[in-house]
Every structure is written in C-alpha cells, then in structure tokens.
Symmetry: C2
Subunit: 231 residues, 2 copies
Amino acid sequence: MSDHIVKAYGEALDLLAGDIARMGGIAESQVNDALSAVMRRDTALAEAIIARDTKVDAAHKAVEKRCTTLLALRQPMANDLREVMAAWKISSDLERVGDLAKNIAKRTLVINQSDPIELMRGIERMGRMAATHLKQVLDSYSSRDVAPALAVWFQDEDIDAHYNSLFRELLTYMMEDPRTIGPCAHLLFIAKNIERIGDHSTNIAETVHYLVTGEEIASERPKADDSGRGD
Amino acid sequence: MSDHIVKAYGEALDLLAGDIARMGGIAESQVNDALSAVMRRDTALAEAIIARDTKVDAAHKAVEKRCTTLLALRQPMANDLREVMAAWKISSDLERVGDLAKNIAKRTLVINQSDPIELMRGIERMGRMAATHLKQVLDSYSSRDVAPALAVWFQDEDIDAHYNSLFRELLTYMMEDPRTIGPCAHLLFIAKNIERIGDHSTNIAETVHYLVTGEEIASERPKADDSGRGD
C-alpha cells in the first residue's frame, strides 16, 4: 500500500473521531441543558432542547454514513476496523442520550404547568453525576486512556442507588398529596431517563475499553440490587 | 473470485440471517411470555423470563462476533455489506427488546405482591399489538418482503395512542385510590416498556427497508402527538 493511501486512511479515521467528539459535545450540552431546564422550570430552554435534537440525529446519520463508506471503500482490518465499529456503536449510544435529554425537556414543559415539587435536589444530584460520567467516557474516547472509562463503568451503581431512593421518595410524596401524582409521574420518568443516560455512558465505557485494549471488560459490573423498583 | 469463495461467502451470510431469525424467535417468546406473566400474575413465569435474558444477550454477542469476523476476513461490499450492517443493527434492537421484556417480568414480581389492578385489558391490548409488530418485522426480514415492515412503520402510532390513553387512565386510578400508587407506578413503566418495544420494531422496519431497497424510508413517520404525556 502506498504512503499516500496510508496517510489518507489515517485522515479518514481522524475525521471519524472528530465527528464523534463533536456529536459527544452536542449530546453533553443537551443533557446539561435538560437538567438546567428541569431545575429552573425554564420552558424556553426546554423548547430549545427539543428543537436541537435534530442536530444529534443528523450527527448520528453522518457517522453511520462515514462508517459505511469507510467499510465499503477502505475495507479496514484489525485496529482500523475496531475504530470504525467503535464509532458506530458510540454514535448509537449518543443518539439515544439525545433522545433521553429531549424527553426530559418535553416532560419539563408538562411539569411547569403545575406547582413546584420538592425532591428536585435528588434529581439534580443524580443528573450531574450522569453528566459527569458522560463527559468522562467521551474524554476517555478522545485520549484513548481507558482508566476514566473503567472508573465510570464501576461507578454506575451509584446512579442506580440514587434512582432507587428517588423512586421511593417520589411514591411517598404522591401518596401524601395525590394532587402531585401527575407531575410526580413525569419526574419518575425523568429520573428513569437520567438512569438510562448513565447506562449509555457504561456502554460507551465498554466500547472504549474494547477499542483501546482489544478485550472486553472481564468482570461482572456491580449493580445496586433493589427488587422494590422492579428494575 | 473463485466459485468456491463466492459459495462460502453466501453461506456465511445465510448463517448470519439464521442467527437473526433464531435471536428474533427468542426475543418474541420473551415478549409474549412477559405479557402472559403480567396478565396471569404468574411469578414463576416472570422468574423464568428473567433467567432466560442471558440467552438474548449471548445471541447478541454471537451476531456481533460473526459480523466482525465477516467484515475483517471477507471485506464485503455493496449488498453484502448492507447484509452485515443490517444484522448488526437488528441484533442491537432485539437485545434491547429482550431487556424490556425482562424489565416487565421484574416489575411483575413487584406488582404481584399487591392486590390486582384493573386496567390490565389496556396493557394486554397494547402488548399484543407490539408483539404482532415485532413478529411482522422479523418475518419481513426473513422473506425480504418490505411491505409488512412498512405497514408496521405506519402503524406504530396506534401503539403510541394506546400508551397515551393508558397513561392517563393509570394516573386517574392512582388519584382515586392512593393505595394503588406503588403497583400503578410499575404499570406505567410496563406500558412505557411496551411502547419502547414498538419503537424497536419501527427501527427494525427501517433497517429492513434499507436492506431490501438500499434507500431510507422517505416520509416522516406519523406520530400520535400528545404533550400531556411529555413524550
């Protein structure tokens, strides 16, 4: 293979990694903004997030297209193939993260029509934890340093534990004041969405580990067990 | 390329399609059983579903492995590349369908500790619709006849409409009898899981359409709009 082709090939992979970094940046903003919108009862921001979700979808389609082109025209092998498949998987996770942020924004619009609910601190704490994990796995992808990704993988149970206690608190709140059942039901789903964002960061951590080491993470992921929430 | 290689290559793709058909069969059973377990309050069946989820995960890993091997060793192009990428995507959707069925089963275990709730007919109707859609898109994948997949794609809004009315009914039920808040919260999530299974069938329909025609579905998917459920 000529140097020219090798160089062009490395450039194509760099462009792909750049796509993922940009897409990750958008997804991160969407998550942070969605959390701000819920906390500040900010309807205008919620609407902006909903409108911006098309950007995440477009970035996802662009990554899929670049991956397909790379596979078809370059027929990558070994490490290079791993690069392409990792980008493909990470962009699928980021697309779902974008959907979850959009869903939080949509529910914010509904919640804002009712009186404020307490328990928002729990949502905020859990949300910031999920946002930090997302940032950490994306940094890990960019730097190819697997340590931060592994740390996220082991810490996901903290988010699960927060979700469990929030689930219980919200049910108690609803029972004490049935007028709050509507908005609290949406908060239950918002909490669930944040927990799912955490799961996607865990998926990305697994993909980065495989990309960098060529091996799957060996041990079983610790999981906060709680049959009470049925999850 | 020699006839021998061409033949072996076709066989490898047939094996891949066979993997998807088998995995689809398992995912379908898990969904049908999860619905039966909720409806019949069948704790033993729910536990069996939870245990069987490892089968879906193993099938997913096997498909990913076969796809990676095909891409690395055979470097497929055009239609063949589409076959591999379609299998990869469909197996990701089926893995999530398996997770959602497992989650329905876990919540069934919790719900069975409380008195029966009405409104189960709505869950059943919505669930059977989602199960039918899943079967239809998998048949479409096997037969390479895109018509049933397209029909599912256009009918997903029926599931969404069911979900909307069920969401409202469940909230009313909780307000009328706050003792039902716990189990009803789990039913809300079960309804959401069924709606998500419908979304995965829609994704599979899109993948089958792309696989068979080489084109994305052109029009916008009709979507039952309902800001009241924030989704």
